[in-house]
């Protein structure tokens, strides 16, 4: 796929990326307000990791290739919990696949109050699994 094609595809999907972030944020806010989670999480698009090993075939331009999940309010999150939240997000295959096709290549989980963060390569957690088998 040429560079121009990739850029056009990324641009076409920007509305879908925004819709995905809005859906995540509204669900996070409902969960926080109903006291079912102790931390308010917010997802936003940001620059990804500059390391080339993070990039994949559908990666967006570097400045927009990261998705950050930030703890905004509520109790502070220790690093162990940051890692656990990341693992929980990445163990959800539907979510990982969606982030992959929406051109993100880096998942960052960050506590804005302490500034601590951990990032993951999304492509490492990607498995087309059943989807490919189903089509045969």
């Amino acid at each position: 796929m040429g560079l121009l094609d990739r850029f056009i595809k990324w641009f076409k999907d920007s509305a879908e990326r925004r819709r995905f972030l809005n859906e995540f944020n509204s669900n996070a806010s409902v969960a926080f307000q109903s006291l079912s989670v102790d931390t308010l999480l917010e997802a936003k698009s940001c620059s990804g990791n500059s390391d080339s090993s993070y990039r994949h075939e559908l990666s967006a331009p570097f400045m927009f290739s990261g998705i950050a999940v930030e703890a905004k309010a509520g109790s502070q999150i220790p690093v162990d919990d940051i890692i656990l939240i990341g693992k929980i997000i990445l163990s959800n295959q539907v979510l990982v696949r969606r982030m992959f096709v929406l051109h993100w290549d880096t998942l960052i989980v960050r506590d804005t109050r302490t500034g601590k963060f951990v990032d993951w390569r999304i492509r490492d957690f990607m498995s087309f699994g059943g989807l490919l088998y189903e089509r045969r």
Binding site: E16, F24, N27, L84, V101
Partner: protein, 96 residues
């Protein structure tokens, strides 16, 4: 005319469309995030309960245990799935 002709979808485009059409369950995700402190304990407990080596003398149960043990590994960070598996272990392995 050739420049108005719509490009045919490639295999990759079809796969991407299917992925975008998948149903996302955000509520499940946030419930897993909320129960994150209990996930590790539950995982260890279930590993102990369903370890296939425990059922060496009962071949039928050993097969079931192998399957459940594999499912526990794949759902390691999914609290709701682990709770469902706990119920299955109690019914299929632990009852006399």
């Amino acid at each position: 005319m050739w420049f108005f002709k719509k490009k045919r979808d490639t295999e990759q485009d079809i796969l991407i469309k299917r992925i975008k059409a998948e149903q996302l369950d955000m509520k499940d995700l946030f419930s897993n995030i909320n129960n994150r402190s209990e996930v590790e304990t539950l995982y260890k407990e279930l590993c102990k309960l369903s370890h296939p080596d425990k059922f060496d003398k009962e071949p039928v149960k050993k097969e079931i245990a192998k399957e459940l043990f594999a499912q526990i590994q794949t759902n390691r960070n999914n609290y709701n799935q682990l709770m469902e598996l706990k119920g299955m272990i109690e019914v299929q392995l632990l009852k006399e």
